[in-house]
């Protein structure tokens, strides 16, 4: 078989090395929970992965080295090039894409396992067959769901919820069909039907598409996190099928940690996971917002904004995804530097879901060298708002909408917000009055103490910085 085959599959040596590998994963994730040790933690986990891969390559029975080389070569090249090219703003869709291929790999491995079982004359033991079926279904859902999430975030398809009439019914029928087909294969495990198995893969693919398509762009991070957990669980299932302890532990680790992350994100948005998945949130009120007559608002230019800011004592900058899209983080940092030179206190208010994913905005601002201490979390900054002279909202929208607190009928009612409406004055830098991801009008724009600066965030920030310099 293999020229390298030195380890017996399931033998003590291989298992010991797998134990080393998953211990490194656990240590790595643990270190990933603190900003100072996270980079090191990621390295530790990567070393664990290297140990696991090398161990597997040394197993007796590994063969077809040409194919392995092709797979590894192509995959590594794509992975390296994609991660070097990707912009920090595109991080959420990158995670979605990587998650998708992981799920795809699981589904393909399950298919190969089934074929292998059939070629050996059927009679696949249930303790292998059931995890294989689970891996196939969840892997396929995860692959297609993640690709849809990627396409939505990359604006390849509309981010608005796309719902088919009778959506829930179709999903339920698909799910029941999948389960029934799985039961059929399991009952007839003496002679499982490959055609039926392929049918399951296809039905799961359709289900993955249908579940994610109706979800709005704003909720996509929660979905990606959930699909991440799914892929982890499907990898664990593949581990059961292949009796591979490294797969079981690593997959389960991701499954349970992904579940926690998902719930924390949903909590930060004041939603339940079920609500995210099934409410089709983010599109319904759009029509109302678009057709309404223009409400009165105050519009100002960069010079006025510069004057307001330069003569303030304390300024809070509220960055949102618009800032990231405009790549304005560096220009905003310049404004902050100019203000600090004049003795103005500058802080940044980071909403838990600022950017497109929790923590995404922190990454972007760190990229622009904004000191970590100036990044204030929502609960920390909100009590400071009434004592803040000017709040500058840059490319953020829904997370500042006072309707979340004041209007119980609003689709975002109850969502925690940065309370910029409490500040003495508000400057909103935005290209237009158009609604954000939630698809609703922002009452903040029409408050008497709000001034709108209609411009591209980066240009506006650069202009303001220049104006402040001349004051």
């Amino acid at each position: 078989m293999s020229p390298l085959a030195v380890l017996e599959p399931g033998g003590d040596a291989a298992t010991a090395l797998y134990i080393v590998a998953f211990s490194l994963f656990i240590l790595g994730v643990r270190r990933g929970t603190h900003p100072t040790t996270a980079k090191q933690g990621n390295m530790i986990a990567a070393v664990g992965m290297a140990v696991a891969v090398v161990t597997t390559l040394l197993l007796d029975g590994i063969g077809n080295w040409g194919l392995i080389a092709i797979g590894l070569g192509v995959g590594t090249t794509i992975g390296v090039v994609a991660s070097i090219r990707v912009q920090m703003t595109e991080m959420p869709q990158m995670v979605a894409l990587y998650n998708g291929v992981g799920g795809g790999a699981v589904a393909l491995i399950a298919w190969s396992e089934i074929r292998h079982g059939i070629s050996l004359g059927g009679d696949i033991p249930l303790e292998e067959l059931i995890p294989t079926l689970f891996a196939a279904v969840v892997g396929s859902v995860s692959f297609w769901g993640s690709n849809i999430a990627f396409a939505k975030l990359q604006d390849l398809i509309p981010t608005r919820p796309l719902a088919v009439p009778g959506q829930q019914v179709i999903n339920a029928v698909l799910l029941i069909g999948i389960v029934a087909a799985c039961v059929d294969i399991a009952v007839n495990n003496g002679d499982p039907s490959q055609a039926l198995f392929i049918g399951i893969l296809v039905a799961a693919a359709v289900l993955g598409n249908l579940v994610v398509l109706p979800i709005g762009g704003a909720d996509m991070p929660v979905v990606i996190s959930l699909l991440n957990a799914f892929t982890g669980l499907s990898a664990a299932a593949a581990g059961f099928a292949l009796h591979n302890v490294a797969l079981i532990v690593a997959g389960t680790l991701v499954g349970s940690s992904g579940t926690i992350l998902t719930m924390e994100m949903a909590t930060a948005m004041n939603r339940s996971v079920g609500n995210v998945l099934f409410a089709g949130f983010g599109g319904a009120p759009a029509a109302g917002a678009g057709t309404g007559e223009e409400r009165p608002h105050v519009s100002i230019g960069a010079q006025d904004a510069a004057i307001k800011l330069a003569y303030a004592d304390s300024v809070v900058i509220v960055p949102g995804y618009g800032l990231a899209v405009a790549q304005a983080q560096h220009a905003i940092k310049e404004v902050a530097d100019e203000l600090e030179k004049r003795g103005v206190t500058v802080n940044y208010a980071i909403h838990p879901v600022a950017g497109r994913m929790p923590g995404h905005m922190n990454v972007l601002l760190a990229e622009a060298d904004v000191p970590y201490e100036q990044l204030k979390e929502m609960d920390e900054i909100n009590p400071e708002m009434p004592r803040t002279d000017v709040a500058v909202v840059v490319g953020a929208n829904d997370v500042t909408n006072p309707a979340a607190k004041n209007d119980p009928d609003s689709p975002i009612a109850g969502m925690p917000i940065i309370e910029v409406d409490q500040a003495q004055q508000v400057i909103v830098i935005k290209r237009s009055l158009s609604p954000g991801f939630a698809g609703i009008d922002n009452d903040l724009f029409y408050e008497p103490n709000t001034s709108m600066l209609f411009a591209d965030a980066k240009q506006a920030a650069a202009d303001i910085a220049a104006e402040i310099q001349q004051l």
Binding site: V29, L59, G102, T259
Partner: protein, 104 residues
């Protein structure tokens, strides 16, 4: 390994996952999601194993794609996480670190 041993491992690993990840600061959700995402790329091991006993053209193709997918997941996942976390560890010393451009 018996099925119940595997289930034992599964349950314990689930608890470890919950414990390890609880109370993560929101700041680190994105990199952490990206890192755990890279870890489930471990399913590539399954690809390496099944391609070993693949014996018809379709199985060769399935196995090779599975390995490629897994490799994208692993390599891309860890590298992108490293890039993100690099943003956090950049020290506010604008001049000093200009020459020490960080190893590999």
């Amino acid at each position: 390994m018996s099925i119940m041993t595997e289930v034992t491992i599964f349950v314990l690993a689930a608890f470890v996952g919950f414990e390890v990840i609880s109370k993560v600061p929101t700041t680190l959700h994105t990199p952490l999601m990206s890192q755990t995402n890279a870890i489930h790329g471990i399913v590539m091991l399954g690809g390496l194993i099944v391609v070993g006993y693949a014996n018809d053209p379709l199985e060769y193709v399935i196995g090779t794609i599975a390995i490629a997918f897994g490799a994208i997941n692993i390599v891309g996942g860890f590298m992108v996480t490293d890039r993100m976390l690099g943003m956090f560890s950049k020290k506010p010393k604008p001049k000093a670190d200009a020459d020490g451009k960080g190893g590999k």
